[in-house]
């Protein structure tokens, strides 16, 4: 391959696909390289698709995208060892089109997205691993090296959408190795159960879906959350915690998942299902403060490789698509104006990001990782107290309610001093404000 392209996009996940699609639609010559057998075969997500980010790229995506169920109900459970206290929000408002959120199966969705990228005119080559970036003497990125014969391919611009590990950016020295405290390790299984059983079990109609977010003792004191999503005829169930916590606590991820699946509130939801795949993935959850340098001469970073994840709201793929689109639009604008793709000019990408929900949201929660890292009580003591309070209050045993209230209050005081309680309230406010 001696051909030169306007842009090479490395990776065919949501960020890479958004970038390649936008660039190809604008008439640029685009080469997209994917190491998997097909787009999606290396990609892992829960997965929830937020319509908005995709709508901005493909307004009529609902016509043919492989969507599982639209979400009509969100449950949030705080779990103790054998109980949970939870809130459910269900609304028929979520049944009005256009729907806002869907469950998807990434291997299928990414393949669909990739077909759109091809149809827009990009050259998509799979089963090709990019092994390094090609730099000229002035440290400008001029192309990529791939693991095929004669594997140097040149372009004016290389967009790195190579995922959380981003080996390419590390090898080129654009950003340092990930730290265990800035990534979560998530493990997940997919369980197939007949559609009618699933719908009855979750009290939903055809096409309707439920999301359950799990918080508390299931992470065994580690900073993390679990989840359970309903697909058309399968359930995705998983748990993710900070890698530094797995490391420190010497917990094996699949044992953690197994234990969570056996929680008395979760087990019946999975009963009779057939497990058909087990996956694992790192999620960049370090937040705003860990966003690396995003562009330089001839290169830009999008998606997970740029640490673009909003851990509080479980958003990632929409940030990926948005950063991919904005990076592409930056290139299109510059080329239209006849400007070179230098670090200084590409800084417009950062400005676009600053003006979008991506950076605004990540900035808003910038203190969150630090606060939760150093205050484990949010994952242990409080879930326990909450559940035991509920139990005390709801267990009828001849003790009067005033005494029960006093019992609950003193159990809080015993676990956390009054100052501790006030301090925690302040910390939470600071984390979420």
């Amino acid at each position: 391959m001696s051909e030169k392209f306007d842009v090479i996009v490395v990776g065919a996940g949501p960020a890479g696909n958004a970038a390649a699609y936008t660039l190809a639609k604008a008439g640029l010559s685009v080469l997209q390289l994917e190491r998997g057998e097909y787009a999606g075969s290396k990609n892992v997500q829960g997965a929830i698709l937020y319509a908005d980010a995709l709508e901005k790229l493909i307004p009529n995506f609902r016509d043919d995208a492989p969507l599982e169920r639209h979400i009509i109900e969100q449950r949030m459970w705080v779990l103790d060892d054998d109980s949970f206290v939870g809130t459910h929000y269900r609304s028929d408002g979520f049944n009005r089109e256009p729907f806002n959120r869907y469950t998807i199966i990434r291997a299928q969705f990414d393949k669909w997205f990739s077909d759109k990228v091809r149809a827009a005119g990009a050259v998509v080559i799979c089963e090709t691993t990019v092994t390094g970036l090609l730099l000229d003497s002035g440290k400008r990125v001029v192309g990529v090296q791939v693991d095929r014969e004669g594997g140097s391919i040149y372009a004016d611009m290389v967009i790195l959408a190579d995922g959380v590990n981003s080996l390419l950016a590390k090898k080129a020295g654009f950003h340092p190795e990930l730290e265990p405290r800035n990534v979560a390790l998530a493990v997940k299984e997919i369980h197939f159960i007949p559609q009618e059983v699933l719908q009855e079990r979750f009290n939903i109609g055809e096409e309707e879906g439920v999301v359950i977010e799990l918080f508390g003792k299931i992470t065994q004191g580690m900073m993390g959350t679990g989840f359970l999503y309903t697909n058309r005829e399968s359930i995705a169930v998983g748990v993710g915690c900070m890698l530094s916590d797995f490391k420190e606590q010497q917990t094996t991820p699949y044992a953690l998942l197994e234990q969570m699946k056996n929680h008395p509130s979760i087990k019946p939801l999975l009963a009779g299902g057939e497990m058909k795949e087990y996956t694992a993935h790192l999620i960049p959850e370090g937040g705003y403060k860990t966003i690396p340098k995003l562009c330089g001469d001839g290169w830009m970073i999008v998606g997970d490789s740029g640490m673009f994840v909003n851990a509080v709201h479980r958003e990632g793929s929409n940030l990926a698509m948005t950063t991919g689109r904005l990076a592409a639009e930056t290139v299109i604008d510059l080329l239209k104006q006849g400007q070179p793709l230098t670090a200084a000019n590409l800084a417009a990408y950062r400005r676009k990001l600053d003006g979008s929900f991506v950076i605004k949201d990540m900035k808003k929660y910038q203190e969150m990782p630090e606060i939760f890292h150093s205050n484990r009580q949010f994952f242990t003591t409080y879930p326990e107290l909450l559940n035991r309070s509920a139990h005390t209050l709801l267990h009828v045993d001849g003790v009067d309610k005033k005494t029960k209230e006093r019992e609950i209050f003193s159990s809080f005081r015993e676990q956390r001093s009054l100052f501790g309680l006030l301090g925690d309230a302040y910390k939470l406010w600071r984390a979420f404000r």
Partner: protein, 96 residues
Amino acid sequence: MIVKIEEKLFQNRYRVDAGRPHISIVKPEVCQFECQTRQCSVCCPAGCYTLEGNGKMSLITDGCLECGTCRVVCDEYRNLDWEYPRGGYGILFKFG
């Protein structure tokens, strides 16, 4: 609770690049004599790392999920040479 990782991995689809593992231990003696914690053998979600009776760390990448955990967690010694498999090889997710 004893969980057999092999039973989970059995459900997955792989195209193993026989004889060309994509991860290798740089200095086996570091794992054997220096590293006290051997986090890789605990944290790897595919159980690719096993501590042998003689204190040697054995690495078999056939079941690897390509997540990157072992590389990130080995932050004290940076003792892994970690690359993605050749194009088309390794884990092939059916659902993801």
